[in-house]
Symmetry: C2
Subunit: 154 residues, 2 copies
């Protein structure tokens, strides 16, 4: 079975696939936002910042954190401020650079993120239950190739 | 070739696919935003509103437009105001309902959207060039099934 219609140019098929990708991605993201709020009283930007910091236990400068998240420094600053107020992250001075500081997850932050990340994996597992092992293998290869091709166009 | 690793539980594979979907979707969306701005001096919300109106030539009430776009009425109002200032949309009174009005694309709006939509299709065609006819058929089927399954969970 294929959805490719011989009367449409291939650009129309690509557009249709893109609109489906966009719609499913937005539905999943919106569900993740709702669950983060209702179950953990947190937001996707907070979750994303904690996820980035959990991968760099030695800490990240604000500029590195922005790079990892691909968002503007200004937005990240507010999120980090509120995470610090909650005791999930700390700013640590960098030896030899008085103006720079590293943001690190605290022990409390690591524990909280571990809980949220486990729940997040369960939500995604449930939402993508439609995709079995064979689908995941095939789709993984296609998206990996797409990602490489998009990075080449940057 | 498959990326499925036997040591990982399938939930990890689903999470990995989700992170790839999210990353590629954000890259494509960000590229579309950049091109809309640099080539047409417009934004994705403006493009989305015009796209919705182009599918309903008889016009849409503000609440219907918000439903179609799945965003809050407040955001749409500002976008429609600016599109009206530019002469791309008009508000038309509804017979028998003094408080309601329909938003319609003007002839100028239809012409502008046709130009932008053609360019948009070309950008997507270029970014998804990695996907040939067989990929598009197979991915279309998988995403259609995913969309149906997600809508069932709503």
């Amino acid at each position: 079975m294929t959805l490719h219609s011989t009367s449409d140019p291939i650009s129309k098929e690509r557009l249709r696939l893109w609109l489906r990708m966009l719609k499913t991605t937005r539905m999943i993201e919106s569900c993740v936002r709702d669950k983060l709020r209702s179950e953990y009283g947190t937001t996707l930007p907070r979750f994303d910042v904690m996820a980035a910091l959990s991968r760099f236990p030695q800490g990240l400068k604000m500029s590195q954190l922005s790079d990892v998240l691909r968002v503007s420094n200004g937005n990240v600053t507010g999120v980090v401020d509120r995470l610090a107020d909650d005791g999930f992250v700390v700013r640590v001075a960098v030896a030899g650079d008085r103006r720079a500081s590293l943001v690190q997850l605290t022990d409390k932050g690591h524990a909280e993120f571990a809980t949220q990340a486990t729940a997040h994996e369960t939500w995604i597992d449930d939402m993508l239950a439609e995709f079995g092992p064979d689908d995941l293998g095939a789709l993984g290869v296609r998206f990996e190739a797409l990602m490489t091709s998009l990075e080449g166009k940057d």
